[in-house]
């Protein structure tokens, strides 16, 4: 019986491989002038990531797709894949498309968008992570099952599984379940930043050299602490910190949580 563990270990190590299939990768690109466009939208599902960034002079999209086919079979089915760009009322809809000849053998892996910076962006992502950076325009993301990363964007309206952000434009951020929200607030040129979580933690880092109005609303098991520019409240034995004016006051930072730990402290 001494051979039994060895046989099990060998089987475990051997049990990892896929045969009789070949993966062929391709990148598909499309471009559209930014003239007359105010908003870009996309509604899709990816296995990897949707990545959007500003700094472009037009609207450029690149999509990576993979065909899972029998070894030696033609990968011509990848020729069907294109990125459709449909313009209507100053809105450009970016849509992965197979020219009406859909196949379940082609997997959409990633989508990269490079936009002219002032454009607004609206993303509906049912699967895959999302990253948006260096985009001055407003950013709307509805991706309840995704991790979303934001860096240097305009005002945001985001619903996601979890959010990490470095933003200066305020807006609305909501997560579901245990999803965490971590925000570095880089500026104060906005009216309000509203954050809502269920049981996920919220951490907001604020520049302490400016004024803020802070409202922290907790229910259930949620807790709230503030340690900002020498001001502290919440925590064990501390004063409750549900409504605070910091300095001369300023943009409203409002956080609502029904079970998470809320922490507001200095941006370092």
């Amino acid at each position: 019986m001494k051979t039994a563990p060895a046989a099990i270990a060998l089987g475990f190590l051997a049990g990892c491989g896929t045969f009789g299939v070949e993966v062929v990768e391709r990148e598909v690109k499309a471009s559209h002038p930014a003239d007359g466009i105010a908003r870009v939208t996309a509604d899709l599902s990816v296995e990897g990531e949707v990545n959007a960034r500003g700094g472009g002079s037009a609207i450029d999209a690149a999509m990576s797709v993979e065909a899972w086919i029998e070894p030696g079979a033609s990968a011509a089915l990848l020729d069907r894949v294109r990125i459709a760009m449909e313009e209507a009322s100053a809105t450009l809809a970016v849509e992965p498309d197979t020219k009406g000849a859909g196949t379940e053998q082609i997997v959409l892996q990633d989508l990269d968008l490079i936009l002219a910076s002032p454009l607004a962006l609206d993303l509906e992502v049912s699967h895959g992570d999302v990253s948006v950076s260096d985009l001055d325009g407003p950013v709307g993301i509805h991706a309840p099952d995704s991790a979303v990363s934001l860096e240097r964007t305009g005002p945001v309206d985001v619903e996601a599984r979890e959010v990490t952000a470095e933003i200066a434009g305020g807006g609305i951020i909501a997560t579901t379940g245990v999803g965490a929200v971590t925000i570095d607030v880089l500026g104060s040129d906005f009216d309000q930043l509203l954050v809502t979580t269920e049981t996920g933690p919220v951490t907001i880092h604020l520049p302490a050299d400016r004024g803020w109005d802070i409202e922290l609303s907790t229910s259930g098991e949620a807790t709230a602490t503030v340690d900002l520019g020498g001001l502290s409240c919440g925590g064990a034995g501390g004063d409750p910190c549900d409504s605070i004016r910091f300095g001369e006051g300023g943009p409203l930072i409002r956080v609502e949580s029904s079970g998470g730990a809320i922490a507001v402290d200095d941006l370092r």
């Binding site: 039994a4 491989g17 299939v21 993966v23 029998e70 197979t98 379940e104």
Partner: protein, 180 residues
């Protein structure tokens, strides 16, 4: 009578534990650095010594060009088990998954696969229970399994891809079971 039953069960807990409920999760390497992932819940009834019959339920999804495609599968199976120690069960299982897939801008489709699996389960609780074994509600088991799944017809979705007919996945899974 109870003592006799417990003594027998000490050698083979499945003489008392006739129903197994399990959760399985595993994966396999695939071309171009991909990892395939598969999971299932299953139940097995053991009406005969060493032999069990049951089924697995599993689901999956993949991102196609025009959206999410989801899959649901039912897989009847037959299982052979053998205890080399009172706490170590070796098993072999064969099953035939039937899968239905929909969404993603593609017509609904079905797939047929077949698999053979082998592995071991560790029963950390039942073998030391003595006469009380018969009165226990259930025991946990923890296992590892190696499975060869072959896509026979119509393709077969193993996340994150629909494998073409003729493809074979050799995957390793871990299992946790409740033996009733």
């Amino acid at each position: 009578m109870i003592v006799a039953t417990a003594s027998s069960a000490d050698a083979d807990p499945t003489e008392i534990r006739k129903v197994g409920l399990g959760l399985r999760a595993g994966g396999a390497a695939a071309p171009e650095g991909h990892i395939l992932f598969d999971w299932a819940v299953d139940g097995t009834f053991r009406p005969l010594p060493f032999i069990g019959f049951g089924g697995e339920l599993s689901g999956g999804r993949v991102s196609l060009v025009e959206g999410d495609r989801t899959a649901f599968a039912v897989a009847p199976h037959v299982e052979y088990v053998h205890f080399t120690r009172p706490w170590l069960e070796l098993f072999g299982r064969a099953g035939v998954p039937l899968q239905t897939r929909s969404g993603g801008g593609v017509d609904s489709a079905g797939g047929l696969a077949a698999y053979a699996a082998g592995g071991a389960r560790w029963w950390p609780e039942c073998h030391e229970s003595g006469p009380e074994l018969a009165d226990q509600i259930g025991c946990l088991s923890f296992g590892v399994e190696v499975r060869a799944l072959h896509a026979v017809s119509g393709g077969y979705l193993v996340m994150p891809a629909v494998l073409p007919e003729g493809a074979t996945v050799l995957m390793t899974s871990f299992t946790i079971g409740l033996e009733l």
